[in-house]
Symmetry: C2
């Protein structure tokens, strides 16, 4: 996986510890998708950014191991799972909304918090 | 740099766009260091997580290009620069503090927001 997925030296910094879990951009995009109500492998894969399937499978496994997401079987043949954020996962909301605000201020053309909230209704 | 530094497909998602800039954990740790008042290459390198010097040099260059940081020369022989967050950089504060809160809730042993703020005084 290369150095980007390797661990930092031990640190008591809360930001560093959070980044051990969420510290690559694909992981946070999957969490974003889950917040937006997406639940299936297919739905994550269809997101605009085009996450490669091997990365998606890996990130879902990591997020489940960290108890950020739960999975439940919704089909038997072939077996298919639906994923949902746990409370621990949902609690990443404020950090993601803070990112939305920053982008709205500094990156022209990004969807506003209002537009996103409307699409969630 | 491998796939983790490669660009997403174009997206209007504000989170995805932010992650194009900050989306590897070392970058956010350098921003954290700057928020904590660190200014020099040496200070960043001394942080607990042990950022490799080649990654540090690359991330400083990217952050400067994105106008997240400014640099000013503070020594001539050899040339040494001090780095500071621009307003655009400082405005990442709320997202980082939200990460601190999440970690304090879910990762035992991480420094609390209070402890961090005290160390800043």
């Amino acid at each position: 996986m290369g150095y980007l997925m390797s661990s930092f030296k031990r640190s008591s910094c809360p930001v560093a510890n959070l980044l051990e879990i969420f510290g690559d951009k694909w992981t946070l995009l999957v969490v974003r998708d889950l917040m937006m109500g997406k639940q299936t492998y297919k739905e994550f894969h269809e997101s605009a950014e085009g996450i490669p399937t091997n990365i998606l499978a890996d990130r879902l496994k990591r997020l489940e191991k960290e108890k950020i997401i739960d999975k439940s079987k919704y089909q038997d043949r072939p077996v298919r799972y639906a994923y949902k954020l746990t409370q621990k996962g949902k609690d990443m909301g404020p950090a993601l909304w803070a990112m939305v605000e920053w982008s709205n201020k500094y990156i022209p053309g990004t969807l506003s918090a209002e537009e996103i909230k409307t699409s969630l209704k």
